[in-house]
């Protein structure tokens, strides 16, 4: 028994040490370290990253296709994680370009950000960016966070705007991504701006089937779903209005390492942004459900 015991103890201690060692390091080092190893002719490839949800992957594929067509050597490193994770990748140079959203990026960089209207948010974003990062033109396409309920719930409780939830919230469960727990445009903001105190918050994957299923089946009553998510139309969900503009404008914008910007890259990406609208993005999101995002991106870029 004693020998077995010390083995168990030893293993557990080794585990603790290994884990605390991980905690000190950079989580991107292990998985995200897909270094650009010479894209031919000694020119270093531009590494395009993406967050871990389908739309961002699609946008990254669109950037990759458009830049590739223009003869810029590109590599992709998709599905990295949430903003909290991939921003570290931009810092350490393991990625160079990523599709971003104006409002959330501004809030990430500057917690005191106040603007909510598209142009103003974009201006505020420009001010908040550190020197080593640059945003190019933003697209008209906008993918906002939203609070969504089922048609049934909306009718039953007479919900039109987020604020209408206030008297009912103590009996309701809110579902959303884990980062909503601490993010201002999440549980804290809903409480501060609309006075919503949900009976509980259930952390689920961002924009995932899990969230949609849980909302459909009543395990959660209100959910954070992105406005371009095809599930909203498919399930007749109701997007609650946001009169206080808690969720700021979220125009799609390319975020790139300043040192990687060239006039050519700028022109190509600005052209993509000029042609990207919320409608065609939502359409593409429907296609992505049963088609490879790279193919959908190809089609869009070919039609530019």
């Amino acid at each position: 028994m004693n020998r077995r015991h010390s083995t168990v103890l030893g293993l557990a201690l080794a585990g603790v040490l290994a884990l605390s060692a991980c905690g000190g390091g950079d989580p991107l080092d292990e998985e995200g370290g897909e270094e650009a190893t010479g894209g031919g002719g000694g020119e270093e490839a531009l590494v395009i990253g993406s967050a871990n949800f389908p739309e961002n992957v699609l946008l990254a594929e669109i950037y990759a296709a458009a830049l590739g067509d223009a003869g810029v050597p590109v590599e992709t490193n998709l599905n990295i994680g949430n903003r909290e994770a991939y921003m570290l990748g931009l810092e350490d140079g393991s990625i160079d370009l990523i599709p971003e959203y104006t409002g959330n990026l501004t809030l990430y960089l500057n917690e005191a950000a106040e603007e909510t209207e598209s142009e103003a948010v974009y201006a505020e974003l420009q001010e908040s960016l550190p020197d080593n990062l640059t945003v190019l033109d933003m697209a008209e396409a906008e993918d906002k966070d939203s609070v969504v309920v089922t048609r049934e719930t909306a009718d039953e409780l007479g919900l039109v705007a987020i604020g209408d939830l206030a008297p009912h919230a103590p009996n309701l469960v809110l579902g959303g991504p884990s980062e909503w727990r601490d993010r201002y445009t999440g549980v804290p903001g809903l409480k501060e701006v609309y006075g919503l105190e949900f009976s509980s918050f259930r952390p689920l994957d961002a924009g995932s089937t899990l969230t949609v299923e849980a909302l459909l089946n009543g395990q959660i009553d209100a959910a954070n779903i992105f406005t371009t998510d095809p599930a909203i139309a498919q399930n007749d969900f109701v997007v609650l209005e946001d009169p206080e503009a808690l969720f700021a404008a979220q125009n799609v914008v390319p975020l790139i390492s300043t040192e990687k910007v060239t006039p050519q890259i700028e022109e190509v990406l600005n052209n993509v942004s000029a042609n990207l609208t919320t409608e065609n993005l939502t359409d593409m999101m429907v296609q992505v459900q049963d088609t490879d995002p790279a193919e959908v991106a190809r089609e869009f870029v070919d039609a530019l």
Binding site: M1, N2, R4, H5, V8, L9, A12, G15, V16, L19, S20, C22, G23, G24, P27, N82, E84, A85, G175, P177, S178, E179, R181, D182, R183, S200, R202, P203, L204, D205, T209, L210, E213, A214, L216, N217, G218, Q219
Partner: protein, 229 residues
Amino acid sequence: MIATIWAWLTDPANWSGAGSIPDQTLEHLRLSFIALVVAALIAIPIGLYVGHTGRGRVVLVNIVSAFRAIPSLGVLFIAALLLLPRLKGELAFELPSLIVLVLLGMPPILSGVYAGIQQVDPAARDAARGMGMTGQQRLWRVEVPCALPLIFSGLRSSMLQIIATATIAAVVGLGGLGRFLIDGQANRKYDEMAGGAILVAVLALLVDLVFAALQRFAVSPGLAPAARR
């Protein structure tokens, strides 16, 4: 880093209220124990049968190795997507995780029970037969007591694996210590993440100690390792 983890672990705010350390630890233990009990209820009878009769040995050994190769996270997602639309309330979240933990917990128990019964001294078995004991009597009065050390070691390693793996339940929105790992990562709070990992390790060790104590009471002193030689 060590200092911030320690600060997180000792912050009183993390020790009370909903979603606090005690809260998630209890939830973690609750899920783990349910999984262990279900796994034991399935695995022990099968292990006893195969060990006692010697029938189906090859099948059992192969099933045990096959089960060990099941990817927990994959099964969890498949189970969650299949069951979520079909079940109501909390069960829809808990059942997928329980299925994964039970699948994971069964192999060590199966092999422990089977090997334990199998390795009972043939002389003891013959003596029991010679005294005129029936098959049932031999199983319960001779084989099981003699096999207890190995049965316990199967249960203990099953429990360790279940506790360590129960963290993945957080991926599909359940509570437990995995919440600290998943939410900590999502919110860039690495102290919370590392603190959660340490709590899981400590919990696994403590529970193993409890099982060790139980084993000491349950196993006949005649079978204690020191007395064996």
